[in-house]
Symmetry: C2
Subunit: 332 residues, 2 copies
């Protein structure tokens, strides 16, 4: 018999909690026998949602947590004071080894703080990065770090490259993933102080497939699989990706509605366009893992619907079964 992977799901986190979160959890256990979901949150609210669905009861557990961490709360304070929040209760389950992983669509800051403070780092890991997958022309790339550690040092970036490579190879399934460092030019002598110091470390590292500097312009075309950068730059890349895409799609739609001829054309192209744009979407891979923790913490979009929650839960199974943390411990 396969071992069950136990995934805590923060039932109160995110804009669509608890309804979409609970639905995602139910969909996950209905899809796979090897998952046990532990929902943390306010019992009456979560139970009311659970009652809407049919699912194998033994695969879902509910742990009551009376408090909720709001999106706008200062993270450190929230994690410290709201000891009975759905997030903190969930993190503690992972810390005590009663669960393998946690998925939350709640406050990014609180997830990052909780991951480091409550779950804790693997031995040897200096800074655990947040590593979302971003869509590219023909697939996805992993962006590390993307918000966990501002003002990082070269040794941190080297660890990001190693952990990112392990994740892409064993969770996403890209053999010998290409690692690039975000830079303002392709030449080795270009860059700011951090990049110039990090470049030789990456170049000398035998564990990774380093291909050199990557300009931001080339990221969307999928020029590498693991994109290494410090958190401020990573955050700008992630957010600008969303911003440019949504403004541009808005512009296209505006053009389609500008006259009758275009409106007729719009009706004809709608199905194909929808399929195409869907392929430029990374949510089917799940959320962003916080790498290098004792256990796995996955942050999904605040606006996650059931589908993304379900995919994030399944991602945890892959992470556990592929023994990613063991691989990280060996290679860090």
């Amino acid at each position: 018999m396969q071992t069950l992977v136990k995934v805590v799901v923060d039932a109160m986190g995110g804009d669509n909690a608890p309804a979409e979160v609970v639905k995602g959890a139910v969909d996950a256990v209905n899809a796979r026998k090897d998952i046990k979901v532990i929902l943390t949150g306010q019992k009456p609210l979560v139970e009311r949602e659970l009652q809407k669905y049919t699912f194998p009861k033994e695969q879902v557990e509910l742990v009551h947590a009376s408090e909720v961490i709001e999106m706008a709360e200062p993270p450190v304070n929230a994690v410290r004071t709201k000891r009975d929040s759905s997030l903190v209760v969930g993190m503690n389950l992972v810390r005590r080894g009663e669960a393998d992983a946690l998925v939350s669509a709640g406050s990014t800051g609180a997830v990052l703080v909780g991951g480091q403070v409550l779950v804790g780092r693997l031995k040897g890991v200096e800074r655990p990065p947040l590593a979302p997958l971003i869509p590219t022309k023909n697939g996805v790339s992993l962006l590390v770090d993307c918000g966990a550690n501002v003002d990082a040092r070269p040794s941190h970036l080297l660890q990001f490259a190693k952990m990112g490579s392990i994740y892409m190879e064993h969770v996403v399934g890209i053999k010998n993933p290409r690692v690039g460092i975000v830079n303002i030019g392709a030449e080795e002598e270009k860059g700011n102080a951090l990049v110039k110091e990090t470049f030789p470390l990456l170049k000398e590292c035998g564990d990774i497939n380093f291909i050199g500097s990557v300009e931001a312009r080339d990221i969307p075309s999928g020029v590498c699989d693991v994109i290494v950068c410090e958190a401020f730059v990573g955050n700008v890349i992630l957010k600008l990706y969303e911003g440019v895409a949504s403004t541009l799609i808005g512009k296209v739609k505006e053009g389609l509605m500008s006259d009758l001829r275009s409106k007729v054309g719009a009706l004809l192209i709608k199905p194909a366009l929808k399929t195409t744009l869907k392929s430029f979407d990374s949510s089917k891979y799940g959320g962003a893992p916080l790498l290098g923790l004792k256990g796995l913490v996955v942050k999904t979009h605040g606006s996650s619907k059931a589908g993304e929650i379900k995919n994030s839960i399944i991602q945890c199974v892959q992470f556990k079964q592929q023994e990613i943390n063991e691989k990280i411990k060996e290679r860090i």
Copy 2:
């Protein structure tokens, strides 16, 4: 009689030089009586291009320069050793006051180095930033700095904000332009060390209309007019803008060609879509000024066609007539 504004145009710079550059220069003098263009470059090549057009001879001068700085040359070395290149000869004309401004589509690095070393900084300006206009939902925003100075200090960013505001108000015509600093969250306590130190300086500065932190996600919707950031981040923003837009447009086109129904629809929407996407393009405003120099240096895209060269030349007239450098000297 109006005073002539003298603009040096680097006839050998860029992917489409000298043909498109010379055409742009001719178009500029045919459009306006108040411009004199000084073309620098290899005389036989430039003359051959000039012979194709009719234009007022007294508005165009040709200054021979035997050398050309290639795109891939190390900038500092190129500017130092190629004393008779079209760029260096042009920069020296500005330095000696024989011209008011210079436009080049050549190597960005060489233009930045030449601007600082040959043309020189205005008194009080610590670092001259490169400040391109980027398209937004309903207009443009100025991105300062975008590649000139990596590892900047808070005092530099304060000057970028001041110079950028003057430029947006008097060249682009935005009254009381809103200034934002790129950050990884909207709250004042967020950010890396540089942003945290710069924030209070911007907040206390009476000369600018500071609106606080701006997340990269909101840049494309035009949330502020002057976007302040250090050069590495600015470069990532500029390049990623281009990368995401081109990948996404490629995806849309791919969708339009996927079946017969969509192909018919594509024919119908083509004109409207073209107009819409054209509105998401900032080249009509000219190139990116290097602010804070004794004289004006404008860098246009390496791939510039005649239209962008022409617009960049006209932008120099506006810059001169609005006495931007005098305003910068007063307020820095």
